[in-house]
């Protein structure tokens, strides 16, 4: 089977006078990739460009050699995107949200399958509850379940573990590790512990520029938190918020 390839070539995105991404280029294959940088570094902008929520001013993104923006729906079918901040329709139950997003992703899914997916994120008991009363953590877990609905080849998570309790974080990380062999997974975070023992490659981003890449980590040889921390401090300096 051919390798999955996501090529980001010379991506530049400007918001009025601010350059959020500056000539950003990387090539990704199956595995887990971490984007690390302080708030406002350009991580979310990069992810939103890949998810086709915003378009870059210059540059292109190719998935298996094809431009994702001209591919449109075909690329969206292979994509799972969970943004940093999101919510759900408060009048919908958990099951309805799953069913609705399954429809949006144009996949047929049985109610048993939905229940299984909800069990995976520990929301089975809340399947009939309306999402309007959900806590931040519950919303995030439902967001994870929704993102994974179409078994995407390209998975993008922006701050996925914010609000999750330690048990859920571990469960989430284990799920990602299981999936990473056949998917391109991109994690953006400024929480270093999220990337610990998880990523094959970490990109350090500052002011929209890729300032450092550390790669070559495999499942048996993952980067430890202390190593990432020292790299982070070297690049960005001390930032208490980021060293969680």
């Amino acid at each position: 089977m051919d390798k999955l390839t996501l090529e980001i070539k010379g991506l530049t995105k400007k918001y009025k006078d601010t350059v959020a991404l500056n000539n950003f280029s990387v090539t990704l294959h199956e595995g887990i990739y971490g984007l690390l940088g302080p708030n406002g570094a350009g991580k979310s902008t990069l992810m939103r460009c890949i998810a086709d929520i915003i378009r870059p001013n210059t540059g292109e993104i190719l998935y298996n050699g094809k431009n994702i923006y001209t591919e449109g729906k075909n690329f969206h079918k292979k994509l799972g995107f969970m943004p940093q901040e999101f919510g759900f329709y408060p009048g919908f139950t958990t099951t309805e949200i799953m069913s609705y997003f399954a429809g949006l992703k144009e996949i047929s899914i049985t109610s048993e399958e939905i229940e299984k997916r909800l069990k995976d994120v520990n929301l089975y008991d809340d399947r009939k509850k309306r999402t309007g009363g959900f806590s931040g953590g519950m919303k995030r877990r439902l967001g994870i379940a929704v993102t994974l609905l179409n078994n995407p080849e390209v998975l993008i998570f922006d701050e996925p573990t914010a609000g999750l309790d330690p048990e859920e974080r571990i469960r989430f990380k284990n799920n990602l590790l299981k999936m990473s062999g056949t998917r391109i997974i991109i994690l953006a975070t400024h929480i270093i512990s999220d990337l610990e023992s998880l990523c094959n490659t970490i990109y350090f981003i500052k002011n929209g520029i890729l300032v450092k890449t550390i790669d070559g980590f495999h499942t048996e040889n993952h980067m430890q938190k202390s190593e990432i921390e020292s790299e982070y401090l070297n690049i960005f300096g001390s930032n208490e918020d980021s060293l969680i």
């Binding site: 919510g87 309805e96 997003f101």
Partner: protein, 404 residues
């Protein structure tokens, strides 16, 4: 179907939508009930109903009604020194009968002879003008008068009907100022429902997740449009049914199949429709005006990032249009009304004000051809609404270079 259901649910479970719908219905019932009470203060529909029933089945005729009215006029009952106001034949008292008989006699005369003689004289005058314009070589006027002759040279099988109740019923729900206010509220409500429907993802902050799915843009927009149309059509049908119930119960309307020209107010109407057909038509026009509003509201909303701004834009825009429609035409005399009479042809929101399209030969010069204003307005409605929907479809959820 399931996805359409979800789109419907998104809008219909919203508290503001429910409250605004309740307010719309509350106003509708308020003006309907007070209107009916006001109407009952003049000619009582149940009295007219009995008179027309007797007239139509041959139990009485205008001569006998005349005699009865003369008896009342000659104060026969008082001469005979009865202590109280005597009971009428049709109503509780003779005073109930008086106006109803007056109206019935007038109506029967109009239906049996008045209408035809009016149309004959009209056609004669039109023919003179037609030949004059032929002699002058004015081809547009020639076509205009020829069309008018064609339209008025029709022998409608008019039937006596309670013209008072028949017209008051239409006026209450479609022609008077309370109904205009209702149309504005309906238009505002439509704008709100449209803005909320399109912005519900942004309001719930799940737009990025929705837009990144394979059917999160065009198909979602089409489903939203379908959901909105279903809601609008449903509400319009509910209002239509309630109005019809009022017509049958409070106004005692029975002659639904009589041509609309049976009402003297519509003798110059160029549409060959029945009373019921006319009633359906004006309800349909109101529906078209709210669908047009939906299209405009969609266009105003599409690039917005929140709910507040498009709501404000829609409300200001529609407020101005409605001001033009109602306040100016109602308060500022004939000049503005004349101006409005011309503008309404090109302005589909005017479909919510149907009266002007049906009380005269309502034709406009389009490239040297006399064309019916209502027809032009409906064509423009189709064009404008399609353009609005098309532009919105192409832009809904679209990733722009300037998004941020």
């Amino acid at each position: 179907m399931k996805m359409l259901f979800y789109e419907l649910k998104k809008v219909t479970v919203n508290k503001f939508f429910l409250v605004s719908t309740a307010l719309l219905f509350a106003y509708f019932f308020w003006f309907s009930i007070t209107g009916v009470q006001f109407i009952k203060g003049s000619i009582k529909p149940e009295v007219s109903e009995k008179i027309y029933s007797d007239l139509n089945c041959g139990k009485t005729d205008t001569e006998r009604l005349y005699e009865y009215q003369q008896d009342i006029a000659l104060d026969v009952f008082n001469v005979e020194q009865r202590p109280n106001l005597p009971a009428g034949i049709y109503g509780e008292t003779i005073s109930d009968d008086w106006e109803a008989i007056e109206n019935a006699i007038k109506q029967v005369r109009y239906v049996r002879s008045g209408y035809k003689s009016d149309m004959v004289s009209m056609i004669k005058r039109l023919y003179t003008r037609y030949t004059n314009s032929q002699n002058e070589g004015n081809h547009y006027l020639e076509k205009y008068y020829y069309k008018a002759i064609e339209k008025y040279n029709v022998d409608y099988a008019l039937r006596p009907m309670d013209s008072d109740s028949g017209f008051e019923f239409l006026a209450l729900f479609h022609f008077n100022w309370e109904s205009r206010v209702f149309s504005i509220l309906f238009i505002m409500w439509t704008a709100f429902a449209t803005v909320y429907c399109l912005q519900s993802e942004k309001v719930c902050r799940c737009h990025e997740m929705v837009y990144s799915t394979s059917s999160g843009r065009e198909k979602t927009f089409l489903r939203k449009t379908a959901a909105l149309l279903i809601i609008l059509i449903f509400i319009a049908i509910v209002f239509f049914i309630i109005e019809l119930i009022f017509g049958i119960t409070a106004f005692k309307i029975k002659e639904f199949s009589a041509p609309i020209q049976s009402l003297e107010e519509f003798k110059y109407c160029t549409f060959g429709v029945s009373y019921l057909g006319f009633f359906i038509l004006i309800n349909l026009m109101r529906l078209l005006s709210v669908i047009f509003t939906m299209g405009i509201a969609m266009l105003c909303t599409i690039r917005a990032k929140s709910l507040t701004r498009p709501l404000a834009v829609n409300f200001v825009l529609l407020g101005l249009l409605c001001y033009l429609m109602v306040v100016l035409t109602g308060l500022h005399g004939i000049k503005v009304e004349e101006y409005w009479a011309k503008v309404r042809t090109f302005f589909p929101l005017a479909l919510s004000q149907p009266q002007m399209y049906f009380t005269k030969f309502d034709y406009e010069n389009i490239l040297g051809m006399p064309m019916n204003r209502l027809f032009i307005c409906v064509i423009l409605f189709l064009i404008f609404t399609t353009v609005c929907l098309f532009i919105t479809l192409k832009n809904y959820g679209k990733a722009g270079k300037h998004n941020g």
